[in-house]
Structures are given as structure tokens and as C-alpha cells.
């Protein structure tokens, strides 16, 4: 997927993360993280953001994240939502029935 515009999801509420994904043509992945649990989980949050974007096939993006102690699953969901919006794509599959 290719990032076409800046898009955001999430809130600044406790236990949430606000993720903005913006174009960064040819610039690779740049993550600017501000987290209340930076010392304990900063590296884990950056890894979760990078991994989620990689799974979506996004190589170039500027990510700004304001984290208020979100759990790993929340971080991944917010990154995905922002990424689909930024790529102007709606062919997401939120639910997998087995």
C-alpha cells in the first residue's frame, strides 16, 4: 500500500494511542513517538508500529504517535486504521470468521 495523505485514528484518552500516518516518499519509515510509558515500553511500541506497517506492505511513512499506555492490540489496531485511511483504501478485513 502507498500512503497518499495524512490520516489519523485513536484518541488521547488513557489506555489509547493517537496514530497519524503521513506520506514520506522514498524516506522509509520515520516514527515519532511520545508515550507515557516510554521508559518501559517505548521500544515495544515502535516495534509494534513498524511490524504492523510492514505487514500492510507500507515502506515509506511518517508516523506520529501519542501513546497513553495502550495495550499492544490497541496499538496495532490504531496503526492499521490510520494506514488504510492514509492510503485511501477501504478493502480492509476487520473480521475473520473461521
Amino acid at each position: 500500500m502507498k500512503v497518499l495523505k495524512a490520516a489519523v485514528s485513536g484518541t488521547m484518552e488513557s489506555s489509547d494511542i493517537m496514530v497519524t500516518v503521513a506520506p514520506n516518499e522514498g524516506g522509509g519509515l520515520a516514527i515519532d513517538l511520545n508515550s507515557t510509558v516510554e521508559k518501559q515500553f517505548g521500544a515495544a511500541i515502535r516495534a509494534a508500529i513498524a511490524e504492523t506497517l510492514e505487514q500492510l506492505g507500507i515502506r515509506d511513512a511518517r508516523v506520529t504517535a501519542v501513546d497513553k499506555g495502550a495495550l499492544d492490540c490497541v496499538i496495532r489496531a490504531r496503526v492499521k486504521a490510520s494506514a488504510f485511511r492514509a492510503c485511501e483504501r477501504e478493502d480492509y478485513v476487520w473480521e475473520v470468521r473461521t
Binding site: 488513557s14 510509558v37 521508559k39 518501559q40 521500544a43 497513553k68 499506555g69 495502550a70 495495550l71
Partner: protein
Amino acid sequence: MHETSISREPSISCLEGLGLPGGQFSDENLGKSYSTLAERKASYSKIIPSLEEAVTLSGLRDGMTVSFHHHFRNGDYIVNLVMDKLAEMGFKNLTLAASSLSDCHAPLIRHIQSGVIRRIETSGLRGSLADAISNGLMETPVVFRSHGGRARAIESGELPIDVAFLGAPSCDPYGNANGYSRDVDGGVMCGSMGYAKCDAQHAARTIILTNHIVQYPNAPFGIPSTDVDYIVEVPNIGDPAGIMSGATRFTKNPKELTIAESAANVIAASGVFEDGFSIQMGSGGASLAVARFLREKMLAKGITASFALGGITGSIVDLHEEGLVKKILDVQSFDLRAAESLKNNRFHQQISASYYASPADPGCAVNLLDAVVLSALEVDTNFDVNVLTGSDGVIRGAIGGHPDTAYGAALAIVVCPLVRGRIPCVVEKVNTVVTPGKTVDVIVTDYGIAVNPRRYKLRRRLMDAGIAVSTIEELQQKAQRIVGIPAPIAYRDTVVGVVTYRDGSVMDLIRQVRD
């Protein structure tokens, strides 16, 4: 005539000069006054026109120890007011021994930088002062003491106080001071002055700072005039909004309610829940809510508590006024409702920190507790409890009476959520051990209950009552599955805080955090 025969005991004055007192009671010098009370009041009192003069009269010198109480909590003006004055007067190398310090004491940072304060003793630290100290502001580490440990240290001479500066919402011209006044309604109130009592009693000199001089005698008093040397009137002693809230509200947080209900179930099934039992509950959301659930159980069983102890809140007062708690022993009033009850209820008794929790007295009130419900920042698989440092290693709390009550109570329950946001609260090893696990009996979280293996009979009892009991390891694993494994905190070697236990022994060390 009889010969007088008396043993020459050196401690008894000899008989020469029988009936002839000297000095101020000699015939020439008789100090008896014939003035009326009104005239005497006009001619003599302990009120000194300025703080500066009172400090000079107290004989304070460089290197001495000054003390403060924390009954004004985050609304306190006294510590900053006095330390500003001592700095202005040029004092250096003082030890500041406060019963606790709050966010509002950030201005102390510059007095530490300028050498006015060399050393601090306290129960807790918060806000930017705590941050600065965690980041290496002071050369000498802060000594943290529990309320009982501080009382013992003051009484034993381990922590001698040279001058106590004690703020009081009311005081008469001779030094009878209290956290409220019978004579007037309204004004600043703090309720009990429990932590100030030991300071007033044992300090070489005691100065009361008050915004409210009342008629003698200011009875009932928290601090008697016999413990007071000087009184200084100041326009403001504190910000009423920071000193106390109107009434501590019951929580609506479902996690806290779950925890509170479980804790009440544990108390009811533990064996201590009989007529005449005794209890202490903290001021945290969950421990406060325990009162509500316990009330229903007391009514259902038709029993009452003989006393409630501790930091007192409106929810305890409700139980007292309903007749479910016979008496209240109050070392610190947490809200206005508690302060007003202390003023109005005959069996709501003000007690000192020493009476409350000094380990030197086997009959101290905490030793007569059946159950205590305590909050925590973190607990670990040894049941050790941290109430002092945050998950980032920075100081952000207070020991309070935590280790004192955990030791004293037959049943010490620690309540805390399994996780706070992404921070695990049940961990493998707490950052700072404040209360040793061997004195903690039950951990209650929103995801389950664990009983200390030392208390295997209690565990059996709870399970027989149908309460699901996990192991502490299971709770720790559950927390880890939810939030992941936090990176370890990076510390430097420098020690910034020494955590002492009730007897003054060192429980743990707090190190400087690495940025």
C-alpha cells in the same frame, strides 16, 4: 519538741531553710500577680510579632533539624513560608524532617541547591521535588520513614528535632492548638493534628503558625500549650481546597468496585469479622469503597465494630454515626466530613502518630487491628509491596502507615488493580520494597485474589467460603500476558533515598534514575 529524723536521700531537698522558698518565690521577689484574667491576657502571651523574631528566640543554628507536619497535604503554605524565611535569614545545612511532603513543596528545590537544606526526612515525596531528587538533586539521600517509624525515631532521640514549625487552624495566645476550633464555624480546617503532636512534644522548641488566634482556652486542643514555646500569626496557613476535599466520593470505577467487593468478602470470611472487630481502611478509591460493602455485611450479620483507626474519611464517619462503628481513633482526617466529625462527635478521638503506630509501644493502636485494607503501586510474587516509587523508578508516593498497619493487623489486605493502563501492578519484583511480604496476608485484584502461603489456614477458610483463590504467580503471569514485559528501569549507582522499616533498619535503597 521532737527531733526531726529524715533519710538523707540526695534527690530530696534538705531541710535547711524550711518554709523559705527562694528565687522567684522569695519574699522580696514574689512573682504572684494580682491582675485579672483579662489584664493578664493583655500583658503576656506567647505570640511573637514576626516569624523572624520567633526563629531567633528559638535558638536555631546552622546544621540543626527543623520539623513540619503534613496535615495540610497539598494545600500547605507553612513549609515554603518557613524555609523561605530561613533562607532569607541565611541559615545553611539544615535537616528538614517533615512527616510528609507533597507536590506543593517544589520551591524547596532552590533551597536544596543553595545549601539551606542539606538533608530531608519524610514519609513521601511527589511532583517536581520528587522528580528532581530521583534525578540526583541531593548529595545526601532522603531518609523515608513510616508514620510509626518516625514517631519511634523522634521519641528515641534517633531523630532529634531542634525547632518544630507547626501550622494550626486555631491556637490561643498560650499555645493550645488544634485542627479546628469549637468557637467558630468555617475557616480552614484540617481535623486531626496527629502527626504534629509528637513533634510538639519532643522538639526542643515548638513554634505554632496560625491564621486564627482564638480565646484561651482553645479546648479541646490537639497540641497543649505545655508543648508550645512561641506563636506566630500569619495571614494564610494553607489553601483550603488543597488541604481537604468536601467529602471523599465513592468510586464509580467498576474495577475498583470489583476489588472492594472482593476485599469485603475476604474480610467477612477471614474469621476476624465478629462483633467488636476493629478495622482500618485507606483513602484510595477501592479501599474506601470497602466500607460500603462491609456495611451491608455488618447489618446482615447484626454486628458492629469496636473501633475504626487511621486516616479517617467520611465513609467511616457514616458508619460511626449509624452506630456500626463505636469509636474512631483519628491520626489524620482525610476529608471535611471527617474533620467535622472530630469536632462534633464525642467518640471520635484525636491520636498522635506514636499512639497510632510506634513500634516501641506494644499496645499501639495498629497492634489492635483485626483488618486493614491498604492500597499499593506494585506488589510482587514475594508479597512485597511498593508504595513509594513509580514503574519508571521515580519517587512518587509515601510510605504512610503502610508497614505499620500491615504488621499490626491480624489480616492485612492489599488491594490493587492487576494492571494500570499498560503498567503491571503484580510483578516478579517490586522496584522498591516498602512493606515486607511476610507481613502481608492477602492480595486482592480485579482479576483474582492471592493468599500468602504463610497463611495456609486462611487460604483454606476463604476457599471453604466459596472465594476463588489464585496463586500470586498466576496473577503475575496474567498481568504479563495483558501488558507484555516492561523494559527494566535504568538506574545509576548513586543512592537518592533510603527506605527504613519501622525499627529504623534499612528496608531498601532508591537509586538515581538514568535518563
